[in-house]
């Protein structure tokens, strides 16, 4: 029990929390007489500094085995996931500075920082209690962010739905954890794995695994636990939706892949052959198949941009779950690469929506009509994001899909569910391409509905986000080994 060692491992979280407190204090003392615009920019600058400090903290914490008696672990996954989450949070904050109109700017930035602290802690947790607390810190902050816009009833409704589903998933997770603790007598993942390997399958264990997977399904927005996603993506403020869709997903997958493989790995079962063997892998495969089918087909019927992105997020969650399945064999590289590049593309797409919404309305897909005339920069970046989400080479989304599918086919060829899922996902990519192209057609080809419609001004902060994410998607697509080499 060395508190200095603990402090060193928690440098990113410390930086984020101190940043949040500074943002609040600054606003309370100096911001009283300032305009809302100035207060927002001051808060965003403090928040950005905190995120940058947290990045240095994560790098200086380095790679260590187990910290503070095995409560935290600092491995390559922790480092990569922390840096990824912090980068996505930085993009969100910059976007906030450029596009958001908030009544309480400092509070918004502070809660974004608290949520980010929850994400980075989720990336490092190696014990059920810390995992639960980190997840709740992140979730509670996200509920508030979803309902932050008190002038719109949709925002509060989205927050309530998110809260009710999230609260239920937390209760399921907790009940699963309590059963795991009862079975193994420990809340630390290495001991749990050790005990599970000795005990083998038991009915109570299956129950616990199902409970944990239900919570995972909620967090990842996988079908049939996806009901909150479209409403939240549509109703929440755009910036909150961007954070919920990107950083929260990366942190959630990091947490659960660590729970499932190093923790409950001995109870994994198998999906390599047609018969398989019981465990959590077959259940994850079912979730993955359901998400792929439901997400892609329901997205076809959407006319609202944000709802469409939400259903496409459900479809992507299906591929990510396939990445979880292959993580045992092929390592974490494919999963991390896929989730991270997905987060970048999604945050970019939400940035485009935020900028268009600032200039007018961005609800229906037809509201994007003529974007190439109104703002060529927005239209060009939008094309990069959507094509990356669709998986068109040479963008990052293509390589992400490629590595996940290749790993799944390596698992047992076409002899088992893993291979079938890969084939299903490849087939459904064609469906996905269709609805992405429908959006792109509006943005790039169709003439503006009103020929005299004004050009969309792009604030400098938002332009940074747009160009940075688009460039990163191209570069990561060309040099994927930069990320994959970490693992």
């Amino acid at each position: 029990m060395n508190y200095l060692e603990l402090l060193r491992a928690l440098l990113p979280e410390t930086a984020l929390v101190v940043g949040a407190l500074l943002a609040l204090t600054f606003d309370l003392s100096f911001g009283v007489r300032q305009s809302r615009e100035t207060r927002l920019h001051a808060a965003v600058i403090i928040g950005t500094l905190a995120v940058v400090a947290a990045m240095f903290g994560a790098l200086s914490a380095g790679v260590a085995d187990a910290v503070f008696g095995g409560v935290l672990v600092l491995d390559e996954l922790t480092l990569a996931s922390r840096l990824g989450v912090l980068m996505l949070a930085w993009l969100t904050l910059t976007l906030t500075g450029g596009t958001a109109r908030l009544r309480h700017p400092a509070e918004f930035v502070a809660i974004v920082l608290f949520a980010t602290a929850g994400f980075t802690l989720m990336a490092a947790a190696q014990q059920l209690l810390v995992a639960f607390l980190a997840l709740e810190l992140a979730s509670l902050s996200l509920y508030i962010l979803a309902g932050f816009d008190k002038s719109r009833p949709e925002s509060a409704e989205a927050a309530l739905k998110y809260f009710l589903f999230g609260g239920m998933s937390a209760a399921f997770l907790l009940f699963g954890f309590s059963l795991i603790y009862g079975l193994t007598g420990s809340i630390e993942l290495p001991q749990i794995a050790h005990q599970l390997a000795r005990q083998g399958q038991s009915p109570l264990l299956s129950l616990a695994l199902v409970m944990v997977l239900v919570a995972f399904g909620f967090k990842a927005a996988a079908a049939p636990f996806h009901l909150w996603a479209p409403d939240v993506y549509e109703g929440a403020p755009v910036v909150s939706s961007a954070l919920i869709a990107s950083a929260s997903k990366l942190a959630g997958f990091t947490l659960f892949v660590r729970l499932l493989w190093p923790g409950f790995g001995p109870a994994a079962g198998s999906v390599a052959t047609a018969a398989g063997s019981p465990g959590w892998l077959p259940l994850v495969a079912c979730l993955s198949a359901a998400s792929l089918l439901l997400g892609n087909f329901a997205a076809l019927a959407q006319s609202n941009v944000r709802r469409l992105l939400a259903y496409s997020a459900i479809a992507h969650a299906g591929v990510m779950l396939l990445g979880v399945i292959v993580a045992g064999d092929a390592g974490l590289g494919p999963l991390f690469y896929y989730v991270f590049t997905y987060g970048l593309a999604t945050i970019g797409a939400f940035a485009v929506i935020a900028v268009v919404e600032r200039a007018g309305c961005c609800q229906k897909i037809t509201d994007l009509a003529g974007l190439h005339r109104r703002s060529p920069l927005l239209a060009g970046c939008f094309a990069v994001y959507l094509l990356s989400l669709a998986g068109i080479p040479p963008l990052a989304g293509f390589f992400g899909k490629f590595t996940v599918f290749a790993a799944a086919l390596n698992l047992g060829g076409l002899a088992g569910p893993a291979g079938w899922l890969a084939l299903l996902a490849i087939a459904l990519s064609a469906v996905a391409l269709y609805y992405y192209l429908v959006m792109l057609k509006q943005a790039l080809v169709v003439a503006p509905a009103d020929p005299a419609s004004a050009p969309v001004p792009v604030p400098a902060d938002a332009a940074i986000v747009l160009v940075f994410t688009a460039l990163l998607l191209v570069l990561l697509g060309l040099f994927p080994s930069v990320v994959l080499r970490i693992f």
């Binding site: 639960f132 509670l140 008190k150 009833p153 009710l164 937390a170 209760a171 309590s178 603790y181 009862g182």
Partner: protein
């Protein structure tokens, strides 16, 4: 009368959890749904304490402290959301919340 065994505790906590779950699914009033959510958390608390007693380790008891705190924080956030919603919509019935539909 025989003393309660571990199985009894786990059974009771499972039943509490099921009651809470059905409350969430069947009730229409947000506040009652909210209480049912808390009941689900309390069910896990009971199981943790029982397991802690029978495993002979303190981890479960420590877990319970933190669950109580998290539950309090959850109540604070949840009630704030309900108050914000009530000010805008003047209802706490979930079936009347249908602005967000395609």
């Amino acid at each position: 009368m025989t003393p309660a065994t571990l199985n009894d505790y786990v059974l009771i906590s499972a039943v509490l959890f099921a009651i809470g779950f059905f409350g969430v699914l069947l009730r229409r009033n947000t506040l009652v749904i909210f209480m049912s959510l808390e009941l689900m958390l309390v069910a896990s608390t009971l199981a943790l304490v029982a397991f802690s007693r029978f495993n002979g380790t303190m981890d479960g008891n420590v877990f319970v402290f933190f669950i109580l705190t998290v539950a309090a924080a959850e109540v604070a956030v949840g009630l704030a959301i309900i108050v914000a919603l009530f000010r805008k919509r003047h209802t706490v019935q979930v079936d009347e919340l249908n602005t967000l539909k395609n």
